[in-house]
Amino acid sequence: MKVERSVRVEDKLFCNRYLVDAGHPHIKVRAHTKPSPQLLALLKACPARCYDLNDKGHVEVTVDGCMECGTCRVIGEPTGDIEWSYPRGGYGVLFKFG
């Protein structure tokens, strides 16, 4: 399953300010052998494209560019596919304009 690549989300995120809390990701994906439909939906629904498939076909999350919108929480938390918390105080995205 290939995610739309014509828009470079990395370029969009590049102009944002973040204070990354290294080693303390605020979102975790539950270990799985085959991704659920909810997890697969996150590959496209996440506006920062934090979710990706690894070589084994598992869904992984990298929260560095996360804008903390909660879309993945709304989709993936009810099924237990992901665990969602806020970053620790002061960390995460720091909107200049909002």
Binding site: N16, L19, P47, M67, T71, F95, F97
Partner: protein, 435 residues
């Protein structure tokens, strides 16, 4: 544990939280406000339009020093297909008044200013502090909060949950459900910077006059959604939002949708040559009246987006947030003044006061609208915009076709697309949900 005890703890420093904290602090209550961002505003995202009336009730002289962008003299509604838009524009010199009714604002800057007023009123505002849980006693009554700071638990008579649309605390404490994918929209937005004169020329503005454009149609690709373009002083806020359930169902990506909106011929010229300085994403409550959760309980109230208070039809949210925050604070103060406990029974006053305000009256008026829009998204956001655009083009293009034939073909296109029953049904359902 912090030994100090507060009259009230407010979680969050957005519109609702600031309104609540300010109101209680002004009345002399001992208020602690907790915000997880670096400063108040650093986690907040909105279009954004500020509604003066609701802010005047909190800070009457706000125009003296609030960071306002432009006062709105014009509103444009666009129905779009892929190459065109049909517009309804309203512009009035009456909006050029000393105490303007609506302004564009930039939330990170505005909220910082708002927060300074909260501090001045005497509240303790603690930023860079994430509240992790509500502290509850063995009866389930809320008695305070736990934070990610070392000094952990802080106690208060009442906790005002102004934690936003994606608030975790209320859900974790089982006070309300997590928003469902069909009750919230995901909006993505960019800030496009251009010289002031360029913005004024492109939007037909003079001085601090402002304009906002709300757009719907094929830009959302058949999903329930809206686009927006707001003129600020030296930048343009541009974004698009659709229901999370629709993103989930269609597999469309938010950034692709945003870029398609930006490339639309009616939009591209407005932002040509701009420098994008931020890309933001946020959820918007779209469930309407029926999605409003329990608003109060033993030791707590919930306000603003966290309470799903958003009028999706009029695109109003921040005013409902400010007003619910203020009303909750006034109710809490009344309970305290009568020397009563902050029980569910006594805090029901907040709901009764909110029922009497425009907040719940407006929400109730449109209670059937979300379902209609969400279950008929293909018709309202794809089929009708295409038909209306085609009808306008047929009407305007002069090609020797007799007008009777043109009108017949337009009518036929509507009937073919939706059938007579469908057309009457849509009109009936829309009228009923609107009344």
């Amino acid at each position: 544990m912090i030994e100090e005890r507060f009259d009230a703890i407010v979680v969050g420093a957005g519109m609702a939280g600031n309104a609540a904290a300010l109101t209680m602090a002004k009345k002399g209550m001992k208020v602690l406000q907790l915000e997880r961002g670096e400063y108040a505003g650093s986690k907040n995202v909105q279009g954004a339009i500020l509604y003066s009336d609701m802010l005047e009730k909190l800070i009457p002289e706000f125009r003296e020093d609030a960071p306002l962008e432009r006062h709105l003299v014009e509103q444009r509604f666009w129905i779009m297909d892929d190459r065109s838009h049909v517009g309804l524009h309203y512009r009035s010199e009456d909006f050029n008044e000393e105490r303007a009714n609506r302004y564009t604002i930039i939330r990170a800057q505005f909220d910082r200013w708002f927060s300074s007023k909260v501090r001045q009123a005497g509240a303790t505002v603690l930023c860079e502090t994430t509240v992790t849980d509500l502290a509850q006693d063995s009866y389930g009554r809320v008695i305070g909060v736990r934070t990610d700071r070392q000094d952990g638990e802080i106690h208060a008579d009442v906790v005002v949950l102004a934690e936003g649309v994606n608030g975790l605390l209320g859900t974790r404490a089982r006070l309300r459900e997590r928003p469902k994918p069909n009750k919230v929209a995901l909006a993505v937005k960019e800030m496009h910077f251009l010289p002031r004169e360029t913005i004024e020329a492109r939007f037909n503005l003079s001085g601090d006059e402002g304009v906002v454009i709300e757009a719907a149609g094929t830009i959302s690709g058949g999903m329930t959604g809206m686009g927006f373009i707001y003129a600020n002083k030296e930048c343009i806020s541009l974004g698009i939002g659709c229901l999370v359930a629709d993103f989930q169902r269609t597999g469309k990506t938010p950034y692709e949708l945003l870029d398609r909106f930006k490339r639309h011929p009616s939009v591209a010229l407005l932002i040509e040559g701009s420098e994008v300085k931020e890309y933001a994403a946020h959820l918007i409550p779209e469930g309407g009246y029926k999605a409003i959760p329990q608003l109060y309980g033993d030791g707590w109230v919930v306000v603003g987006d966290a309470a799903q208070l958003n009028n999706a039809i009029h695109r109003e949210g921040s005013n409902l947030a400010m007003t619910s925050g203020r009303i909750a604070a006034e109710a809490i103060f009344q309970v305290k003044s009568r020397r009563l406990a902050m029980t569910k029974e006594n805090l029901a006053l907040y709901k009764r006061m909110l029922d009497r305000s425009f907040v719940l009256k407006d929400m109730k008026k449109y209670k059937d609208m979300p379902r209609l829009m969400h279950t008929n998204s293909q018709n309202f956001f794809l089929t009708y915009p295409q038909l209306i655009s085609k009808a306008m083009q047929t009407y305007l293009r002069v090609d020797g076709t007799p007008k009777t034939e043109k009108q017949k073909s337009t009518l036929k296109s509507f009937v073919n697309a939706r059938s007579w029953i469908g057309l009457f049904g849509d009109a009936f359902r829309l009228a009923r949900a609107w009344r």
